[in-house]
């Protein structure tokens, strides 16, 4: 089965006064096994249109997860907004297992109250209902929270829609000048906020485990340096600017160490920087390019990319107290080129970039079995990053000459493009749950 569902949302961006942006959400494949649901547009009684269509955001979230197949709006048999209006027999005929209805109403003293119910269609009963207050700015965020509530109720697993992503954009002006930006946005790439603008490249954003800081690479001094910036305040410091390459920062799960790549000794090697003391420990030693470290969720291993075997492959190094314990072991054997691995939150899988010939795609490897599953079908994919619940992966790809972000269910079931308009978009990093 191959279903193409296209939802075009035209949304006036929130109070910042940003011009209208078009988000084209395209779900192109793999709806098989997804639970049919219906999300009815929420009632709104106010005089002026709402800044965001809450139900549309919820519907797009659920579809993106690959776990749900929301009915297209033109297939809804009715548009109830209260439980009393629901004719369950009519909904059973659509095949929808669950039904979401809701209302947004103005709140005294400003803002809104968003109310919704999740209904079980076969059993003709309410599963849950909530009222959530929101300001105009918070409406999209509330929509993501509703998605998380529904997701958790129906799957038994925690949702990750109300989280953030960070990514890098590059824009070329008419004069050929390039502008690089480091952005933070909602998990669906909306509500973009720029936290760094530079005329020189920016690379490799990495969230701290508490979600409050981002480490990244900036070439603002004409060469690479690693910086750590507080997301809320914008306060930042340079943590590595040695001779040669300073790049690929990766936070340890306890937030106390930063693994990174330095070539100060002649070629790229992985180091661990203890942030409090600025103490550096070199953890790889090889003539090869050793880079792209990532910590296992328990902090007891680092994976990294190395071409010590001739081509880039993924290796794992056991760690103990920020120090290597033993020699690196090679993890990837399938495919000519495997790089930039990221652990799943449960530590059992790696999302990585896998290349064969001229095709570079996103794969997920089971660490235990070594079995590699390719999730994407395009040719220039890169930078996979797991959602904090491990259910989805966001990555960058190139479409018609432009870098865009896409999300895919970690089992490969659904792809969704997160195509906000401006410039080349790349290197998405999904935030942890905000602590």
């Amino acid at each position: 089965m191959r279903t193409i569902l296209r939802i075009l949302l035209v949304a006036a961006l929130c109070s910042t006064g940003t011009a209208q942006a078009v988000l084209n959400i395209e779900i192109t494949e793999g709806m098989e096994g997804a639970l049919p649901v219906a999300v009815v547009p929420f009632a709104w009684t106010g005089a002026t249109p709402l800044p965001h269509d809450v139900a549309a955001v919820v519907s797009a979230d659920l579809a993106r997860s690959g776990r749900f197949a929301p009915l297209a709006l033109d297939r809804l048999p009715a548009r109830p907004t209260q439980t009393a209006q629901v004719d369950y027999a009519a909904w059973r005929s659509t095949g929808a297992e669950s039904l979401v209805i809701g209302r947004v109403r103005p709140r005294e003293g400003g803002g809104f109250m968003v109310e919704f119910q999740l209904l079980d269609v076969p059993r003709s009963q309410q599963l849950l209902g909530y009222s959530i207050p929101a300001t105009a700015n918070q409406l999209r965020r509330v929509a993501h929270q509703i998605s998380d509530i529904i997701y958790e109720k129906l799957t038994g697993e925690r949702g990750a829609f109300d989280t953030n992503i960070s990514y890098v954009t590059e824009e070329r002006g008419a004069d050929g000048k390039r502008t690089y930006r480091l952005a933070v946005a909602d998990s669906d790439a909306y509500n973009e906020q720029i936290i760094l603008t530079s005329a020189q490249p920016i690379m490799s954003p990495a969230w701290s485990p508490d979600g409050r800081r981002l480490a990244y690479v900036s070439f603002e001094e004409g060469r690479s340096g690693v910086y750590v910036q507080e997301v809320a305040s914008g306060k930042r410091e340079k943590v590595a600017s040695y001779q040669g390459i300073n790049s690929a920062p990766a936070w340890s799960p306890d937030g106390r160490h930063l693994a990174l790549t330095l070539s100060r000794d002649g070629n790229p090697e992985v180091y661990v920087l203890e942030l409090a003391s600025s103490r550096l420990t070199r953890v790889t030693e090889n003539w090869a390019i050793d880079t792209e470290p990532a910590w296992s969720p328990d902090g007891r291993a680092l994976v990294f990319t190395s071409d010590r075997g001739g081509r880039p492959q993924i290796y794992r190094l056991s760690m103990s107290g920020g120090m290597p314990a033993g020699a690196p072991e090679r993890l990837t054997f399938e495919g000519a080129y495997n790089a930039r691995a990221r652990y799943s939150p449960d530590g059992r899988r790696l999302a990585l970039l896998t290349g064969e010939g001229n095709r570079f795609r996103i794969g997920v490897m089971d660490i235990e079995t070594g079995n590699l599953r390719v999730l994407t079908e395009s040719r220039l994919d890169e930078s996979p990053s797991f959602s904090p619940n491990g259910a989805m992966i966001i990555y960058a790809t190139e479409i018609r000459g432009r870098g865009v972000l896409e999300a895919v269910a970690a089992d490969g079931r659904a792809h969704q493009r997160l195509g906000l308009s401006r410039g080349d978009v790349r290197e998405p990093a999904w935030s942890p749950y905000f602590k």
Partner: protein, 177 residues
């Protein structure tokens, strides 16, 4: 490079000045080329001749010199310098040895395929391959600086081999000449 530009400006200034001076002495022929005018006025000869050559005295600016080639290309995921490029790199090393005040930034780049951080390493490896050859051929240690930009600064914008082959490169950027 700045100094070189200064020389060029100076030389063209001399040429202009010579032309102006000539115009003053021969007001009836204002459209005359400086070179032709110089033949009539011995004091302006040198300036006229140099302007016509259009060459500022640095072999870096001579299109006939091997030193005019300052970009070297590489195969995919490789830092191997071609035999032809090795000869040119050797000329650059000799030039730097002969011009101890000159310095060079060796910039390494990669095409967009593969991971960005690996490509940063690959760009550095390419730049270091050129650097090593230059050090072997007499460039003094300290005259050079290696910087990798990986795939972050492509020379060509496309997404196929026609662009990729132009982006897998090392560029030499001189200063102090």
């Amino acid at each position: 490079m700045k100094k070189l530009m200064a020389i060029l400006v100076l030389l063209s200034g001399v040429g202009l000045f010579a032309g102006c001076a000539q115009q003053q002495t021969t007001p009836t022929e204002p459209t005359e080329a400086p070179g032709a005018a110089a033949e009539q006025a011995p004091g302006a000869e040198a300036a006229g001749a140099e302007t016509e050559r259009g060459f500022a005295g640095s072999p870096l600016e001579d299109p006939q010199s091997p030193l005019s080639k300052r970009v070297f290309y590489f195969p995919f995921d490789s830092s191997e310098v071609s035999a032809e490029d090795r000869n040119i790199v050797a000329e650059h090393a000799k030039f730097l040895a002969a011009n101890p005040n000159a310095s060079v930034v060796i910039e390494g780049h990669a095409d967009e395929r593969g991971s960005r951080e690996y490509n940063l390493g690959l760009g550095e490896r390419r730049a270091q391959a050129i650097e090593r050859l230059m050090l072997l051929q007499g460039m003094a240690k300290g005259q050079q600086q290696v910087i990798s930009f990986g795939e972050e600064r492509p020379a060509a914008q496309g997404h196929d081999e026609s662009a990729w082959r132009l982006n897998r490169r090392v560029e030499l950027i001189y200063s102090g000449v």
